[in-house]
Amino acid sequence: MTRATTLLNPLREGLRLERIPDPCVMVIFGASGDLTRRKLIPALYNLAYDGLLPPGFSIVGYARRAMADDEFRASMRKAVERFSRRQPIDEDVWQTFARGLFYLEADFSEVRAYDRLGELLERIDRERGTGGNRIFYLATPPDAYELIVERLGEAGLSHPSDRNSWVRLIVEKPFGRDLQSAIELNEHLLRFFQEEQIYRIDHYLGKETVQNILALRFANTIFEPIWNRNYIDHVQITVAESIGIEERGGYYERAGALRDMVQNHMLQLLSVIAMEPPIAFEADPVRDEKVKALRAIRPIRPEEVDAIAVRGQYGPGFIGGQPVPGYREEPKVDPNSQTETYVALKLFIDNWRWADVPFYVRTGKRLPRRVTEIALQFKQVPHRLFTGPAAAGLEPNTLVIRIQPDEGVSLNIAAKAPGPRVRLRTVSMGFLYGTSFLVQAPDAYERLLLDCMLGDSTLFTRRDETEAAWLPITRILQGWAEQPPPRFPNYDAGTWGPAEADDFIARDGRRWRRP
């Protein structure tokens, strides 16, 4: 991490406002795309509105579409007006922000364009005092990553011009298609950038509740002693979406649920739940522990994939009372597509803490409701004092960490219902962030972009982490490739997935939660 110039300023010390990064320029490759319009520019404007961007902060939009600086500014203003959580737009803030917006029209492959980019960056350094500090953001389709990085390296833009400045690279998911391609991409990036310069973004990690898992686990004494195989029967991680693939048929056909959700978001959640306490809340100690948890996932042999994985694809059905088409009827989808839109896995983490505790992980499109949660189900009491009607319907203790919607934590406990007879009921003790703190949480991108500017990579994934997450996923993909094609579609839109998934967990004497 670069030492901020602010340390040289005696007025900076002890101020109550948040950390302010060094002046810098962010170059967004793919500046005319959806991600830039919907997420990046609104997030950066929100940071500017809150005074969290450094003076002179500038953005260079790099894309193929022909546009002048002013057109780019006008287009970004529309994006902020539509997608920013800060409304209405503040004229003074916007004017200052917009003065730092520049546009470079060029093809990603054009060698000379990177020279022009270098000249523009030098000019911005001179005129806006950005001191040679740069962030290159790859907001392009993944097949352009290697080319852009190579061109940046060849143009001498991948390394800082002096020891007081820094250069960072943000890479969006998907980070490879399997373990081999992830390794190759990593090696390619590392030919031009150092690992410390690379920020692999998984926006799930920028969500407040995911960060709150760390607070829940490591800022409270009461959970950690029971956070292990001695007390926990199993863990269920659910990321259910009621939406389909929307306009992303082309992408989704190549990805599928396993690559799109499990390899990144869900294994990130799993690693945060399963990790050991880090020695410090800093980038490497936190990521060291996450990597250890991912590496401890029990190796999967291709021939046993059926025993640990179920896949599904939705057919036509109803969502919210409205008929919706099946996956194969979606635009840009092969009518005979074998792409999975649902996946359920049973993973084990072979270490001292979690030996033989199954982690059931499931995700799907067109499920009945949108919900992301992690449920830790505790074991039954060792000796049942209450049996028969007194304990009918009593559920084991469950700690549920809800990520969306209704972010919060709830704990189900048994309590005696009032009355002369002993009858137990399961009651939920809930702490909902939304009902306790009604404030709007910052968008995940705001947090992550600011962290990158500050050189804090705690919430970004490291090379070994990405590769460790790809290993089990690749084994499952290999296993599926060796099997006959599945009989898709196998669940109706608006249901909780294929019947096979229910049978799959029922074989272990358990059942899926209905979140």
Binding site: T5, T6, L8, N9, P10, L11, R12, E13, G14, L15, R16, L17, I20, P23, A48, Y49, D50, G51, L53, P54, P55, G56, R86, D90, E91, D92, V93, Q95, T96, R99, G129, G131, P405, D406, G430, F431, L432, G434, T435, S436, F437, L438, V439
Partner: protein
């Protein structure tokens, strides 16, 4: 956002001013008996989450009304038990007499199945009841949670009983913008701060928090490597505050701001002089260079009386000269704008919206802070010294 509200007036018992046990009993009963359905008949789970106890003492009913509005807004970010204590007019009778009311207020709207609720206790206090206050603050504070006392109106800083009141809570929040004799009371604030040092109570000043955006912008000027030289080469500073024409000037913000810079940069006082539009404090920096610090006032609406409106720094070193201006602007003057320029060009322009100009946001920030602020302590120490020098011109 829809609201569920249930309230109960406590019967006044002859001879008893305020019965704390009765307040707790009534609150418990309210929780038991509160309706679980909203206006549409939909079942709602009432959730009670508290992160602190907030006592608000208001010196009159007009401020009490303002406090009620703010409390309602604050509950979104700081679910708390709120105890509103209002000093009643001594001559009042009937409903204006001391008494208490308890209520549970719930909000619907985020996730309609759940309604976050907070407890509000409203107590009418006899006037001049400083003796009585600790006996209410201590038992009404929720156990194991921090307690804050926000004193709305001029605090009785020269009354020894106020120290006992302050000691009954974890943090006392005053506002030097409300001070009756702003300069003199700044001296008394320092005395109270010192008396509380080493105790469990921390004293804070909302007016100190108000200068946070100014501090941030000032620091930001000199964060920029090209401007850093100017910090050691300042020659003149003009600090302009608003002044409502019928009210005496309040230089508290300006003095705290100067106190902060002086404490951070090791400036020492050299000389002071009265000026028609304010005063000038001459400081010397560590190298012995003189800096003229002009405190000026500009006629303005009552809502910005005593608030900083602009700060301008001038720096000169060798043949180089630069001017840095920080000013409030934009809608409702909620934006801070910074402009740095030398004789040839504009070096830097910057603007951001600052939530801390809004009282609600200011309080939210205050309620998130538990530890003492060493910057405030150092700035107050300097400001007190300067205040005693200029007191004669602001009496």
């Amino acid at each position: 956002m829809a609201e569920l509200q249930t309230r109960r007036l406590l019967p006044r018992v002859e001879g008893t001013t305020i019965d704390v046990d009765a307040i707790e009993r009534e609150l418990a009963d309210l929780w038991r008996s509160s309706g679980r359905f909203d206006a549409r008949g939909v079942e709602v789970a009432l959730s009670r989450t508290s992160v602190l106890t907030l006592f608000v003492y208001t010196i009159d009913s007009a401020r009490a009304e303002q406090a009620k509005e703010l409390i309602d807004q604050l509950s979104s970010e700081h679910p708390s038990r709120v105890v509103l204590l209002t000093a009643m007019d001594q001559k009042a009778s009937g409903p204006e007499q001391p008494g208490a009311e308890v209520s549970i207020q719930c909000k619907l709207g985020v996730a309609e199945r759940y309604a976050p609720c907070y407890e509000q206790i409203t107590i009418g206090m006899p006037a001049n009841a400083l003796d009585l206050l600790p006996s209410l603050l201590i038992p009404l504070a929720l156990p194991d949670l921090p307690s804050f006392l926000w004193w709305m109106g001029p605090p009785p800083l020269d009354d020894r009983r106020f120290l006992r009141v302050a000691r009954a809570v974890d943090r006392v929040i005053v506002d030097s913008l409300d001070f009756t004799r702003p300069v003199h009371d700044l001296v008394l604030t320092r005395r109270l701060y010192n008396q509380l040092r080493g105790q469990d109570t921390v004293l804070s000043d909302l007016n100190w928090a108000r200068i946070t955006p100014w501090q941030e912008m000032t620091a930001r000027i000199f964060d920029v490597p090209q401007s850093r030289w100017a910090l050691d080469a300042l020659t003149d500073v003009w600090v302009v505050s608003g002044r409502f024409e019928h009210w005496p000037a309040n230089p508290s913000q300006a003095l705290l701001y100067l106190g902060w810079m002086a404490s951070r940069l090791g400036w020492e006082f050299d000389d002071a002089m009265s000026r028609p539009e304010g005063c000038c404090l001459c400081m010397k920096d560590a190298a012995g260079q003189r800096i003229e610090w002009n405190i000026c006032f500009e006629p303005y609406a009552a809502r910005l009386h005593g608030h900083l409106l602009s700060v301008r720094f001038q720096a000169r070193q060798g043949g180089e000269q630069a001017t840095f201006t920080i000013a409030r602007g934009g809608l409702e003057r909620g934006t801070v704008k910074l402009r740095a320029q030398n004789e040839q060009q504009v070096l830097l322009e910057y603007a951001f919206h600052h939530a801390l100009f809004d009282l609600r946001r200011l309080l939210v920030r205050e309620l998130q802070t538990l530890a003492a602020d060493p910057l405030y302590e150092a700035a107050l120490r300097e400001a007190e010294g300067l205040a005693s020098l200029v007191e004669q011109w602001f009496a």
